[in-house]
Assembly symmetry: C2
Homo-oligomer: 340 residues x 2
């Protein structure tokens, strides 16, 4: 494991993206998001995801020259077409527009269709919260998980984000609909370990904590069984309905990697126009204090709120460098045209 | 088990509420919601909940004479104070206002503070969908579940509702944050059965499918473990922030039964102002067909979408009468001043 400074990691990823054909400024923005993801401990969508993005660009699955276009505007709602451009840039455009509308009208909704992978969904929640806004956001995706009662993967993992700004640290939820990501299954299997709780069914329908048989069957478990399954279905339907875009069953036909052609929703609300910044902070502090001060269970020494873990990892990584896998770092260095 | 017609059940509940002091029209509305809940198979908030509501009224925990009042209006957002009036009536007012705003502006948000139990959360989703609107709605509640990593109940069960209108049957998610309701634990224990999946921890911190030890420890499991815990925290924070109302830690101090003083959010969007009714139906049908036609697993003969089970139960109950527990029915008949 290497420890890389934020600046160096962002610089190298920027170079990799420029080499893939992006302009300097856009490359830098995207590199910042990948770097921040790793910095916050969300490794799956940080440095680890750079090579895959470059691969998608080369295959033509992401059009780095495409710009999003406004489809429709109605009061506090806008629909934009991502034109299969860079997912991160499209998602920032959408968040910025939703913020601009919310700044005027209290709430802004941007529905973005035909976009590509936004990488770490939480990025846009943290971004809005940094500017003092509340955000609710989600994307649909291609299938990777069976509906509850089925053995055939037909549901997307559909990350869902909620963020509330708070001076001492935003409260940010960033969760996908499966109990575990496939990445977690792989890492656990490579370590020869079991999942902490059952993560899916093997090919014969037995619930298991063994990652290998679940990877094989593709029968990962929705979080909360029928609940996560239902939530995934609603997020998918609503994303497509509001953006006049594609639902999972249509995204599945595209077959251009993860999320190409997907639909995303960005709901932003300005709490300063409601109870105000001080009130929001007081409520959020009250919630956090209640959680933090509750009695830890037998397996825990403390109880954390959503986002707290990311802030801790961030602080450590900013002080000591971002943890990076040597092989992955070498791969990105090579993409940047640097030697390891 | 008795089978009671919709009309008879609504009539008897109406009489019970009138006897408790409500006016005829409001009693009829509330009775319809309780009856519809039982009719759709959501027994916990149907007929079964009538006596408890009457008890709350008698204790002064619900003020049936209070009317909600507008606190603030800002573009597409309104904040109302429920003044601890009847939860169902307040929630309908909020949904109706959100619908009226959405009809004009595409989206309407009503944040309702200081209200009381809304009974079945799905009621308001089904209602909005019947009128062709998309709805996202939730409430916070008093504590009944530990945060992930804690053994002390400090999270509300915070039901969350999403509804998309569809001619052949709306897609409606109505889920609380715990894997199982306490009612489910009780029913399972009384049958001498185990839960289908682990439902919580016993007092020593062992994960268990035995309902009794979980009821005793009050350590019910959030759906998806850390995920449902995080979601509950965000729903609570956001409900209080947007409504300028109380969060769970403050509701806990009230100690007047379930949900008294709680905060609720009603987000309504008019899809007819976006892609239109036909487009919405096409997307929703596509999602439903994809789910319905997926291969059932070893334990299932079919795969259903959220809301489908309720529609089936409704059809059976409308044809053959609503299933009601004899004892509960006798209790409500008595409250109505009728003999069993």
């Amino acid at each position: 494991m290497a420890r890389i400074s934020f600046e160096t990691m962002q610089e190298v990823i920027t170079e990799a993206f420029v080499k893939a054909g992006m302009n300097e400024q856009e490359a830098k923005t995207c590199a910042r998001i990948h770097t921040q993801a790793s910095c916050d401990g969300i490794y799956s969508h940080g440095l680890n995801r750079v090579a895959r993005f470059v691969d998608y660009v080369k295959r033509g699955w992401v059009d780095i020259n495409a710009k999003p276009s406004l489809v429709k505007k109605l009061g506090a709602i806008e629909i934009h077409d991502g034109n299969r451009g860079t997912g991160i840039l499209n998602a920032f455009m959408a968040t910025d527009r939703a913020i601009a509308i919310a700044a005027e009208q209290g709430v802004g909704i941007v529905a973005l269709r035909n976009t590509t992978h936004w990488m770490r969904g939480g990025s846009y929640g943290w971004y809005a919260a940094d500017k003092g806004y509340v955000a609710i956001s989600w994307t649909n995706t291609e299938s990777c998980m069976p509906s509850w009662g089925s053995k055939e993967p037909r549901l997307g993992n559909n990350p869902f984000v909620m963020a509330v700004p708070r001076k001492k640290g935003h409260i940010v939820l960033d969760m996908a609909m499966s109990q575990y990501a496939y990445g977690k299954l792989q890492v656990t299997r490579l370590k020869g370990q079991q999942l902490p709780f059952p993560g899916g069914f093997d090919k014969d329908g037995n619930l298991t904590s063994e990652p290998g048989p679940i990877e094989e069957s593709m029968r990962i478990l929705p979080m909360g069984y029928w609940k996560g399954s239902g939530f995934s279905i609603l997020l998918d339907t609503l994303a497509a309905v509001l953006s006049e875009g594609l639902a999972t069953n249509e995204i599945d036909k595209i077959q251009q990697g993860s999320c190409t052609g997907c639909s995303q929703i960005f709901i932003v609300i300005d709490p300063r126009k409601l109870g105000g910044e001080e009130f929001t902070d007081r409520v959020a502090d009250g919630v956090v204090d209640y959680v933090n001060s509750s009695a830890p269970d037998e397996r825990s020494t403390e109880v954390m709120y959503p986002g707290e873990g990311e802030l801790r990892t961030r602080a450590d990584h900013l002080a000591n460098g971002i943890v990076a896998d040597d092989g992955v770092w070498a791969e990105v260095l090579a993409l940047a045209g640097r030697s390891a």
